[in-house]
Point group: C2
Chain length 154, copies 2
């Protein structure tokens, strides 16, 4: 979902910094409603013609509902403590990742205001990313998807 | 934390049903602020004179802050899907547990409004209770507490 916001930010002639993508996310929501970013993703997915899709970066129940209206959805929350998430974001260093702890706290506040906490609380599955490695996380997710597959077939 | 609310409900001469405890929780917050239930728990804990305490039932960051002001705190989120939580509550059958799915959805809405999603999103540790048994959950929690102990000593 971040890709879609970064694309939209560039389309508007802005650098995809944390500040600009944050502003564009807010503007999109004001102009097209709370599920605006999900709707943009759904267009991209439709163009790709894919049958199974992993969407990363859901921030609110409005977005969850937008996806649920179009597909069977398994909502997975991947959570870690604020400290750990700040470390992971620093290591990642993407153009719109927060550079300072203040920017990180501000980003968290913005995402909590949008309603990310409700989406986490109401997830179908929860995975802790507090102590794991990328390999452990991938294994956890694969297990969940395989279980979901088996349930859907049953 | 539910014990404290059930006690307070009885103290006010009411049966501790889901409806009454919900009302008392709301009244307590209106009268004594968002951390009212945490403050009542802190009184109980002080009377018990315990050095190490497990508190179950945190619903908001205001409550988290109340505990953090008085002790070192490890905030652990135990999450499961709404369907699974409804099943677990039906099996538990406590006086103030929801009897119907509508009551359950209403309870979830009330707790999300108080801010439980933020507390889950900002937890230090997250455990999934989606597929486990009580024994698995106990083992997960023990592991987390032992790791915390080791970190505190380091």
């Amino acid at each position: 979902m971040g890709d879609v916001i970064r694309e939209e930010t560039k389309r508007r002639g802005l650098e995809p910094t944390a500040k600009n993508t944050g502003e564009v996310m807010k503007l999109l929501r004001q102009q097209k409603g709370e599920s605006a970013v999900a709707e943009l993703c759904l267009e991209t997915i439709a163009r790709a013609g894919a049958q199974r899709v992993v969407v990363d970066g859901i921030r609110s129940m409005a977005e969850v509902e937008a996806f649920r209206n179009r597909a069977r959805l398994l909502l997975v929350a991947v959570d870690a403590s604020p400290e750990r998430r700040f470390e992971l974001l620093k290591d990642r260093g993407r153009s719109d990742d927060p550079l300072t702890h203040d920017m990180f706290v501000e980003r968290d506040r913005r995402e909590l205001d949008v309603g990310i906490g409700k989406a986490i609380a109401l997830a179908d599955e929860t995975i802790s990313n507090q102590h794991g490695t990328p390999g452990k996380l991938a294994a956890d997710i694969l297990k969940i998807v395989e279980r979901w597959d088996a349930d859907e077939r049953a």
